[in-house]
């Protein structure tokens, strides 16, 4: 153990994109039959799950129903994520587009949601994605790059103590209350609050944050974030914490925050949240960030490829689409 450990900065696990084959098939069909050469951004949607096995990375899934506006989101263990698709007509256009500018555009939209208070009502709007790509329909080769936009605000969050499992921090009864509350909320509410003082333990919607700031007592922020890592919350927690930080920037007594990285799993036919992680954090601001109107922060979140490079990924479905190969496989 070091005598003087420096502050340990909180890190967030970036989503891993997971695109199913049926999405690429649907995309090809749409490109041929509907989009044509129209390369404007299209609305799509995906989802992420909080019910991961502890060994499977935190995933943002995009499937055949991504284009479906009427999609009902009814799964208990997953949360919706809105997205945009920008499909280029040539690989050169894809290569040459300004990736940082795209990120900044998305970040500016997030910042508006945060500062206008809209995200307090609908916190899941802060979990979204941007999919840029180029589809070679003849060769069945798809090149794509996911951005999971996150604003870099506040300057940092630092751990005040070691992360612990929820059952070590809260009583069994409180854990059950948290679990029940989260199951009763709509899927738009992937984050909520606990307010505690000596006499009470109460659960609140995120929209109640401004009102809670003037009360005495302790605020805990719960985020269903999809992470499977012990020390790190998942990517959705990052923008939610930015939202929290924005609202507490002038309330120094709330610069310490307890975060519950809420995880749900099914074991032996029972859903539980006992492997959720609780973190005591401190918000660190730069002087600029606690101004009346802070500047729009910069935006991060481009996914890396299989080798850790900031490059698009590629999927080649030709072996599955080639009639010759298909004939060989047919028994």
């Amino acid at each position: 153990m070091d005598d003087k450990p420096g502050p340990r900065v909180l890190k967030f696990e970036l989503f891993a994109s997971c695109v199913s084959v049926d999405f690429w098939m649907t995309l090809s069909k749409k490109k041929l039959e509907t989009f044509g050469l129209d390369a404007s951004a299209k609305r799509i949607s995906g989802s992420y799950t909080t019910g991961n096995s502890s060994t499977v990375s935190s995933r943002l899934d995009v499937t055949y129903d991504a284009f479906d506006d009427e999609k009902q989101h009814s799964h208990t263990l997953t949360y919706p994520a809105e997205g945009k698709l920008l499909l280029f007509n040539t690989i050169e256009a894809f290569r040459d587009c300004d990736k940082q500018q795209l990120a900044d555009q998305e970040g500016a939209l997030l910042w508006t949601l945060i500062t206008s208070g809209e995200a307090l009502e609908h916190p899941s709007m802060l979990t979204n994605f941007f999919l840029a790509g180029y589809a070679d329909l003849k060769k069945h080769v798809y090149r794509y790059w996911f951005l999971f936009p996150a604003v870099v605000y506040p300057d940092a969050l630092v751990h005040e103590s070691e992360p612990l499992e929820i059952t070590k921090i809260f009583s069994k009864e409180c854990v059950e209350n948290i679990s029940d509350f989260s199951h009763r909320l709509s899927h738009e509410q992937n984050a909520f609050l606990i307010h505690q003082d000596d006499a009470s333990f109460e659960l609140f919607h995120l929209r109640d944050l401004p009102a809670l700031l003037s009360k005495t007592g302790k605020i805990t922020l719960c985020v269903c974030d999809g992470s499977a890592q012990k020390d790190n919350p998942g990517w959705p927690a990052r923008n939610i914490l930015a939202l929290y930080a924005y609202y507490v920037r002038s309330h120094a007594q709330h610069h310490r925050i307890q975060l519950v990285s809420l995880r749900k799993r099914v074991l032996n036919g029972q859903t539980d949240i006992d492997h959720s992680i609780v973190m005591d954090l401190r918000v660190v601001f730069t002087p600029d960030q606690i101004r009346e109107i802070p500047q729009t922060p910069r935006t991060v979140g481009w996914e890396r490829d299989e080798k850790g490079r900031l490059q698009p990924r590629m999927v080649d479905l030709s072996s599955q689409m080639d009639p010759q190969k298909l004939a060989e496989q047919a028994v």
Binding site: V9, S53, Q311
Partner: protein
């Protein structure tokens, strides 16, 4: 196919006598599965392929990102493998979809079958490396042009990469086996009047597996026999791996009988929970089952 198109929709319950189920019973069993194991959820599928005998929003069931930590050939060296949890079943048999007619093959117990799962020759491993090299070459072509100027990778002190999927087991000869993941679908097979399981595999980088690669995750005796490549009834997809349902009803009937002999009754809403336990014999390394154990 044509046979499925022409087959009448099963109306009356014959579950106890024959092990087959009606579409209504499939929905009941599916609702039960989703309720008790929400890793599964209903899906509507492509609206052009909606089957009228099932509710529009409950056409088939999906579970995604199911881990598969090792290949079937590694099973033999692991004695602690415990897969079959249907206790009290002795007769459930798995066979070829092209049976050679010997009745003895038809009724081997699933458990003893599991014991006999043999090493699938690792003949594909050499070939696989070649394939990977090819991929790299192709990727190097025009992808490098994307390598960004510094602007994208500005310092971000608060990011960690998604957790790499580590295998729980290390194979001594071949090193760490990469964790794959599978999407599983359960459809209602109108012709066989049973559920049918479909599989789509992804490698550790979440890219779709080829059929040959997926064969490594099917027990050796079922590869190219019980597993067939067919068109998904609800999605526009290239042919997808599926466990052929021709023996499902028989296996189910035997389980019902075994339970009955023990003086209990198996209710139809448990059909899919039990179905998932017995198909595990075909895909012993895919860890999808989070339902509770059944004892009769």
């Amino acid at each position: 196919g044509v046979a499925e198109f022409l087959a009448p929709v099963l109306k009356d319950s014959k579950f106890r006598e024959t092990g087959v189920i009606t579409p209504e019973e499939f929905v009941v069993a599916g609702d039960h599965l989703v309720h008790h194991c929400p890793t599964w959820h209903w899906s509507a599928g492509d609206s052009a392929k909606t089957k009228p005998y099932l509710p529009a929003d409950k056409q088939f069931l999906i579970t995604k990102n199911v881990p598969c930590y090792r290949r079937c050939r590694q099973l033999e060296s692991t004695q602690d493998e415990k897969v079959i949890e249907v206790e009290g079943d002795t007769e459930g048999g798995w066979v070829d979809t092209h049976p050679d007619g010997t009745e003895g093959n038809l009724t081997r117990s699933m458990t003893s079958k599991m014991d006999k799962v043999t090493i699938r020759q690792a003949a594909t491993s050499g070939k696989k490396e070649e394939d990977e090299d090819e991929d790299d070459d192709e990727e190097a072509g025009d992808m490098e042009d994307f390598a960004s100027s510094g602007m994208l990778d500005q310092e971000d002190a608060a990011i960690v990469a998604p957790a790499p999927m580590k295998s729980k087991l290390v194979d001594e000869e071949e090193g760490v086996e990469q964790t794959r993941t599978y999407d599983l679908h359960i459809t209602y097979d109108k012709y066989y009047q049973t559920p049918r399981l479909w599989l789509m595999g992804y490698n550790e980088s979440r890219k779709p597996l080829s059929v040959e690669e997926m064969y490594e995750d099917f027990s050796a005796e079922h590869v190219r026999k019980t597993i067939t490549m067919e068109s998904h009834p609800h999605l526009n997809l290239p042919p997808m791996a599926s466990i052929h349902p021709c023996r499902h009803a028989d296996v189910m009937k035997k389980i019902i009988q075994t339970v009955a002999e023990g003086g209990k009754e198996l209710d139809v809403h448990n059909y899919l929970v039990i179905f998932l336990k017995f198909v595990q014999a075909v895909i012993p390394t895919i860890e999808y089952d989070y339902t509770r154990n059944f004892t009769f």
